[in-house]
């Protein structure tokens, strides 16, 4: 069954056919040539290693949230590379440990948002008519409200918790995926291989999942990479406003929110967590742009 799909794709991309590489291999080959994307990828791999390792290197109770008033507000030194905060906690340890929150929240809410968004978008694009109208009008409404506001409303109404934070962030993500999935499905629905799949007697859900969706993967993958970056910024913004991850946890935005009160004399407290957010998001954006160019070379001229 899937051979029908694949052959259509390969004929659409003559380059891939000529060198008899799969579409994925071909994209990877192009991606490897993109220095920015590789730099981003390397940084992200490093970050994932750091996030995993920090759980073993640092003891959460003592190194990360343990209060040590004797060493408070120390400037960066050999002992405390990034200095210490107002409660004497080592900022280096906290920033490294904080990568866990950003990565989990970023990937988590994008994943949930992707599943919801792609489902809604695929249904809207496939069935059209009433379903399309209802899904898209709700989508328009959510799209019109600035995404921080949606998150603020959800989190303040349902209370601050990591789950509610995930939920509030994935709403924004889902709207983007709905739009993309709908547009791709609408263009693909008309093609012959979909008709062929039908003619072979497949049920609708199977046609959507096995034949239509695999063919709109590229824009979805690109959007996913870029969304993780935006979501990490949004998550840290909410923590900065005091309604994201609750206090002692070393989430980067929360660290900035606390550090802000000491910016007058200890400005360094506010520098590092922000740099951490920026480089993470930068890496994701570099990778996302690279993946887009690799998956759709026509776009890059």
């Amino acid at each position: 069954m899937s051979t029908v799909t694949k052959s259509t794709v390969t004929t659409a991309k003559p380059v891939a056919k000529m060198k008899s590489r799969s579409q994925g291999q071909e994209a990877w080959r192009r991606l490897k040539k993109n220095k920015g994307a590789m730099l981003g990828l390397a940084f992200l791999i490093l970050l994932v290693i750091v996030a995993i390792a920090s759980g073993y290197i640092f003891d959460y109770e003592t190194d990360v949230i343990g209060i040590n008033p004797a060493e408070k507000l120390q400037k960066p030194s050999a002992q405390h590379w990034f200095g210490t905060d107002n409660l004497g906690r080592d900022i280096f340890a906290r920033v490294l440990y904080g990568s866990r929150y950003s990565l989990i929240i970023g990937v988590g809410s994008v994943f949930i948002g992707l599943v919801i968004g792609v489902l809604c978008g695929a249904l809207a694009g496939y069935y059209g008519g009433m379903v399309d109208q209802v899904v898209m009008r709700i989508n328009d409404m959510l799209y019109a409200v600035p995404n921080i506001m949606i998150a603020v409303v959800i989190v303040s109404l349902f209370g601050t918790s990591t789950f509610n934070l995930l939920l509030s962030l994935c709403v924004t993500v889902a709207t983007a995926f709905t739009r993309i999935a709908r547009a791709s499905v609408m263009t693909i629905r008309q093609q012959e291989f979909v008709e062929a799949a039908y003619a072979m007697g497949l049920p609708t859900w199977k046609v959507i999942f096995k034949h239509i969706l695999p063919n709109c993967l590229s824009p979805i993958i690109v959007q996913a990479t870029l969304s993780i970056g935006t979501t990490i910024i949004n998550a840290s913004s909410l923590s900065f406003l005091g309604i994201g991850i609750p206090s002692p946890a070393p989430e980067w935005g929360a660290m900035l929110s606390e550090g802000r009160n000491f910016i007058r004399n200890s400005g360094y407290i506010c520098v590092i967590p922000g740099l951490a957010i920026m480089f993470t998001v930068l890496a994701l954006n570099l990778l996302g742009d690279g993946v887009r160019d690799a998956l759709d070379p026509k776009l890059k001229k």
Partner: protein, 312 residues
């Protein structure tokens, strides 16, 4: 054009109805009792009950909603549970601050982004282009509130050039406007560049050059003018976002804007204030969107022609 505008303005009515229902419903149906929050700590149950009665919280939801909407038709958006002040007046007190910051940041953004976008597009794939694009990339990757903190650190605390917070004259506007504006600039730069790149490839650009128009004229009159529509779209989107208040920048700079007002009211469960402010923000955003549509027609005769045809 006139009929189209009227239609757009009438379309705002269902938007207001739906938004008010959603916000009012969400604020009412999810836990939290404003009466409890308002009552002094040592209040008896009877006193709390009295406050509840006074605020009309004992009525069923639908009655409260209808009462609220009835008031709105008369131009009364209710009074705040917390401060007991008129919602409309409170919003209007904050609005000029938000408009000031919003317009200033969009101005900063346009001032940076459009020249940069054109410049990078003309120098596509050279090091100049790369530098510009890296700038834009950093711009979208930076959390806005952090940029604000860094600007405060540099310009207020190290150099002592500008005030770090509050709203007091032009000097206090610079840092907040830069903070919000830089974030917007990144996106507008990218849009300007890609839109210009599309236009630069067109045949009429070659024709203009062949006719001997000088390069500046070619770029601005023939190029930019045709590239403007997507740019206006992005600017309009940003503007309507900024008008609901940039709650982050307002937090960093203690700027008394609408964003902070809404944020604080949500955390205090001040239902009339939240509902009123969001409805007013929606109306404002719709107005901006209509304005953007009018601008389309102004810059693109093809779009103008459509309106004219439709009216015939």
């Amino acid at each position: 054009m006139g009929r189209y505008l009227l239609k757009r303005l009438l379309l705002m009515i269902p938007v207001v109805l739906i938004t008010s229902l959603v916000i009012f419903g969400a604020m009412n149906l999810t836990g939290g009792d404003p009466a409890l929050a308002l009552a002094p700590d040592n209040a008896t149950e009877a006193q709390v009950e009295m406050i509840r009665e006074e605020l009309g919280l004992n009525d069923p939801f639908i009655v409260r909603y209808l009462k609220y909407m009835g008031g709105m038709l008369k131009g009364d958006l209710g009074t705040s549970y917390v401060t007991n002040k008129d919602v409309f007046k409170t919003y209007m007190q904050r609005l000029p601050n938000t408009l000031e910051l919003g317009c200033a940041s969009v101005f900063v953004a346009v001032l940076i982004a459009i020249p940069l976008g054109i410049y990078t597009a003309i120098n596509q794939n050279t090091w100049k282009d790369n530098v510009g694009m890296v700038f834009a990339l950093f711009g979208v990757s930076m959390p806005n509130f952090w940029l604000g903190l860094m600007l405060v650190l540099l310009f207020s605390l190290k150099l002592h050039w500008l005030p770090s917070s509050g709203r007091n004259g032009l000097a206090s506007l610079i840092l907040p406007a830069l903070t919000v504006g830089m974030g917007l600039a990144a996106l507008i730069t990218r849009t300007t560049r890609s839109s210009m790149l599309d236009v630069l490839r067109q045949d009429y650009m070659r024709t203009a050059r062949a006719k001997g128009a000088d390069e500046r004229r070619v770029i601005f009159r023939h190029g930019l003018k045709n590239a403007l529509i997507p740019i206006i779209t992005v600017i309009g989107m940003q503007l309507s976002n900024v008008l609901t208040g940039s709650v982050l920048a307002e937090t960093v700079f203690a700027w008394p804007g609408v964003g902070r007002l809404i944020f604080d009211s949500i955390s205090k469960r001040d239902t009339p204030m939240v509902t009123g402010c969001i409805i007013l923000s929606c109306v404002l955003m719709s107005l901006v969107n209509v304005l953007v549509d009018v601008l389309y027609a102004f810059f693109d005769p093809r779009i103008k022609a459509q309106y004219v045809r439709r009216e015939r």
